[in-house]
């Protein structure tokens, strides 16, 4: 259940909305249990939570308060991690400091949801690629490339946040 709340929170980034989403998702899971035929309940349940969260995000988008998921997702998608990898190895040393955790969490929040969710499922919930594929409904190859891109983007956003806050550091 902690995983359900955590995923909902990271997708919608609001505690109260995450609570509503988890409650809705659990009732839906309960009523739809006849449709569950897998071995492991966790990915199945997280997929329902994820769907609820995306429905919520879509509603919010329609009300015009945020940019669309597609836009958010498309942004930066053409860039590959080569550029990042070309950074000097010393650059990431500066990413590690007393404030790193704040930066990492802020940076995660800035990623597009499609990249954010795979990082949450992998790094926090420690799901396998197979389980992440089941939760997100994407092929394993897509999970792999999103994680790869997610990690690259995370690194880039981290560098940007740190540079903004501490211009002298970079």
């Amino acid at each position: 259940m902690e995983a359900a709340y955590n995923l909902a929170f990271w997708l919608v980034r609001s505690r109260t909305d995450a609570e509503d989403i988890v409650q809705e998702a659990y009732l839906r899971a309960f009523r739809a249990f006849d449709g569950f035929h897998g071995e492991d309940m966790r990915p199945w349940l997280l997929a329902i939570v994820r769907n609820s969260a995306y429905r919520w995000l879509n509603n919010r988008r329609r009300s015009g308060t945020v940019i669309s998921l597609e836009e958010a997702f498309a942004e930066g998608s053409e860039e590959n991690i080569d550029q990042l990898a070309a950074n000097e190895p010393t650059a990431e040393d500066r990413l590690i400091g007393a404030a790193e955790r704040d930066y990492v969490l802020r940076a995660l929040g800035e990623l597009p949801p499609a990249l954010r969710e795979v990082l949450v499922l992998r790094e926090i919930e420690e799901l396998s690629y197979r389980d992440i594929a089941e939760v997100t409904g994407a092929p394993i190859g897509t999970v792999m490339s999103r994680l790869s891109r997610g990690r690259g983007e995370l690194r880039k956003v981290l560098a940007r946040l740190i540079e903004k806050d501490e211009p002298d550091a970079v």
Binding site: N6, L27, M41, I81, L95, V104, L154
Partner: protein
């Protein structure tokens, strides 16, 4: 391996999701490439930070609300408790995979996730049934909610059995039944009705079976009795001065087979 190709594989490398060949190739490349080595270190470090601090703590009130919601929902669908059936009844008499069974299972499963509250739920839905059955089933549920239902993990009876020596004042039956399709998982100590008992854990496919044992109070042996509670099957019997309770969500036929083997 080319650096360009290696970079694409660094992320699945960190996740341990590469084939053995790819893993070796990437590892060899990293040895000689400072950029890739630094990036892997970075992935690890950021991943660790996320793992340690990324989880948004769940509000306590949410667990309570969920419990209330699901309990209300469960009341709508959980049918009356089935009375104990004689062991001689055909074991597959009941059709287990019915929508109502699945809903019951869903009720149990959903509440399982609301972990700390499961015992309360089991007790709350029992009504007038015997205290002992409640305790046995609650102990079974507790074991499923823990990360692991066992304290000593082994499929070897010669590991599990001695583990109990000194922890309990009788020698419990621990059998390796993997040839019969009931692999031994391990054992633990548990409490049922205020007494310390032995729990030996077996598996049948994906089902976990707890076999509880303690010295029986009355003299003589008792024939096996099968009962169903909340979608769980229980069998109790006593033999040689030991009371046995086997509990699982496994079907009654398979559970009876295990009883016959023990």
């Amino acid at each position: 391996m080319q650096c360009e190709r290696a970079r694409e594989l660094l992320s699945p490398y960190v996740d341990g999701e590469l084939s053995a060949d790819e893993r070796r190739a990437v590892a060899a490349h990293i040895q000689g490439c400072r950029t890739c080595e630094a990036q892997v270190a970075d992935f690890h470090r950021v991943g660790r930070t996320l793992a340690e601090t990324g989880r948004e703590p769940m509000p306590k009130a949410l667990a309570l609300r969920l419990r209330a919601n699901l309990a209300r929902e469960a009341e709508k669908v959980v049918p009356a408790v089935v009375e104990p059936v004689a062991f001689t009844a055909p074991p597959r008499r009941r059709q287990f995979v019915t929508p109502s069974f699945l809903r019951q299972a869903a009720a149990m499963a959903a509440v399982c996730v609301v972990s700390a509250l499961a015992t309360w739920w089991v007790l709350g839905t029992f009504g007038e049934t015997s205290r002992l059955e409640q305790d046995v089933l609650a102990a079974h549920m507790r074991s499923l909610l823990q990360d692991s239902p066992i304290q000593v993990a082994s499929s070897d009876t010669h590991t599990v059995k001695p583990w109990f020596a000194g922890r309990i004042d009788f020698a419990p039956d621990v059998k390796d039944l993997s040839a019969d399709g009931f692999p031994l998982i391990g054992g633990r100590l548990d409490y049922v009705s205020g007494r310390r008992v032995v729990a030996v854990v077996y598996k049948r496919r994906l089902h976990t079976i707890n076999v509880f044992m303690w010295p029986s109070s009355g003299p003589g042996d008792a024939a096996p009795r099968v009962m169903t509670r909340n979608g769980y099957n229980l069998i109790t019997w006593s033999r040689g001065g030991i009371s046995y309770w086997a509990v699982s969500d496994l079907n009654a036929g398979d559970l009876s087979q295990l009883q016959g083997l023990l």
